[in-house]
């Protein structure tokens, strides 16, 4: 059981979500974040006064999947978030102890099982 935490470009998200959803992995959260890295900053200029903005807007996508699904989920992000330019982002894979479904109280791998039959 692993948590995949991917920092990606906004514009790549919709395709990634569509693909993962079709694979039966629609459970995820996203948040708007700002970050810095190799992409560097950009300059805002207001009436001649300049300021360099180092923190660029990115999207953080989080999902917890079973060990069997980690590679194929990561492959989807890798394929669709890739442009080859600095600023494509990073993916982190973090171990997770357990998962609990609030609705039923179930625990373990069953909670994270892919369900492609429900793909919309």
């Amino acid at each position: 059981m692993k948590k995949i935490e991917a920092f990606i470009r906004h514009e790549s998200f919709e395709e990634i979500r569509t693909r993962l959803s079709a694979m039966g992995l629609p459970s995820m959260s996203i948040s708007e974040v700002k970050g810095s890295g190799r992409q560097g900053g950009y300059t805002e200029s207001y009436r001649g006064a300049k300021a360099t903005i180092f923190m660029r807007p990115k999207l953080k996508m989080e999902m917890v999947v079973n060990d069997a699904d980690v590679d194929r989920a990561v492959d989807v992000v890798l394929e669709l978030a890739h442009t080859g330019e600095p600023g494509d982002g990073k993916i982190f894979i973090i171990p997770v102890d357990d998962a609990v479904r609030v609705r039923t109280g179930e625990r373990g791998d069953i909670v994270l099982a892919p369900h492609p039959e429900d793909a919309a």
Binding site: R9, H10, Y42, E44, S45, Y46, I53, P57
Partner: protein
Amino acid sequence: MRLRSIRTTALAAGVLLLAAPGLAVAQDDGPTPTDIAVNSIWVVLGAILVLFMQAGFAMLEIGLSRMKNAGAVAGKIVINLSIALLMFWATGFALAFGDGSGISGEMGWFLNATDASADTNSLGLNSFMNAVGAYNIPVEAFFFFQVVFCAVSLAIVFGTMLDRTKFIGYVIFAVFFTGLIYPIVAHWTWGGGWLAKDGFLDFAGSSIVHLQGATAALVGTLILGPRIGKFRGGRAQPIPGHSIPIFILGVFILWVGWMGFNAGSTLGAVGLNFADIAVNTNLAAAAGVIGATIGSLFMFKTLDVSQMGNGAIAALVAITAPCAFVDPWAAVLIGLVAGVIVPPLVVLIDKIRVDDPVGAIPVHGVAGIWGTLAIGLFATEGRIGELGVSPGLLMGGTAQQLWVQFYGIVATIAFTGAASLIVFLLIKYTVGLRVSEQDELAGLDIAEHGMYGYPEQFIEVPGAFPEGARGMDLANLGVRTPSTD
């Protein structure tokens, strides 16, 4: 003083002058200084109202664009108005209203009346504008009124091109459009050119101003291609504008400005019934809102506010050509139809994969065609009899006027479409028309202008938020919260 010894000039036939029934048209002694003063006040006031329509276009387009592009839209509007004013003064006015051939004018460059033919009167108007006919206003009032119309037409062009066009692309197109393309089409009708001689009628510019702007707008968006993300998987995606209230403010500013646009197009006040035109214009706009609301309800099962606003503009565009020639009931009908067709047309334009962020093609283009044709259907004998053309087909007339209106529209689309295509391609293959994908994603505010329209949305601005309002630690401020209790 300019106002002395004004010669009498009979009203030229075929120009858009509306004489109110029952009032004398030409007085033997010519207009008095008071007549000229009153006329000038109305025309200049009308021009000021039309000038303010730029604010309406700015608010409308800003409201329907995304936050990251709001500043760029504002900058575009202000530079384009300025280019329009200067280019129309330099060449546009002479091409549009100077004497010349049936295709274009040839004199009056830089508003200079001294290169005129012999016929000069003290108003300066007829010195190089015999073909236009006589209006009892100074030439400067006439120029001011016409130059702001040209700026409106230009503003329409760029409505479809939001969020992805290079600033320099706007500038170069504006120079050609206001200095050359628009004036030639305006000359055909309003400058006494070949369409005027054929009896083509367009009172305030459904075709000349709006359809022409929309034609160039269609060419522009076709050459640019859609915004990134507009069409995905073969389907049009919504890219909602960021502020419906700002959009509706734009609609209202345009609506008010239209009182100058239509009613001011009498180009005088004495002996002319401009209030009648103002009423027709408002009735149409109201019917347009109702029409678009009903259209939205049928098409989308919702009351789409952006469609309601577009309905008002579509109706105002449609009534612009016939406002002086039709009865109030016809104005209501013309406006209603213009409003109803907006929602289905917006969907249709999405279906054929054309990206039109503000709906300029249905609202200014299709409604402009409808309004121009409506003269051939609804014009009444009493209102256009003096112009020597047949009343509308539904008002006991023949189809003759409808035919003239039709080929006037075709000529406008053909010329403006071809000329715009050449200019846009010229820009595309020299300096480039579209920003890079990276710049488009970053937003034009930061990419083209280096500054945001709404900086607090995107960057840290020193002191932008009140102390403690964001991320404040309630406990440290001494506020009692459940966790500290």
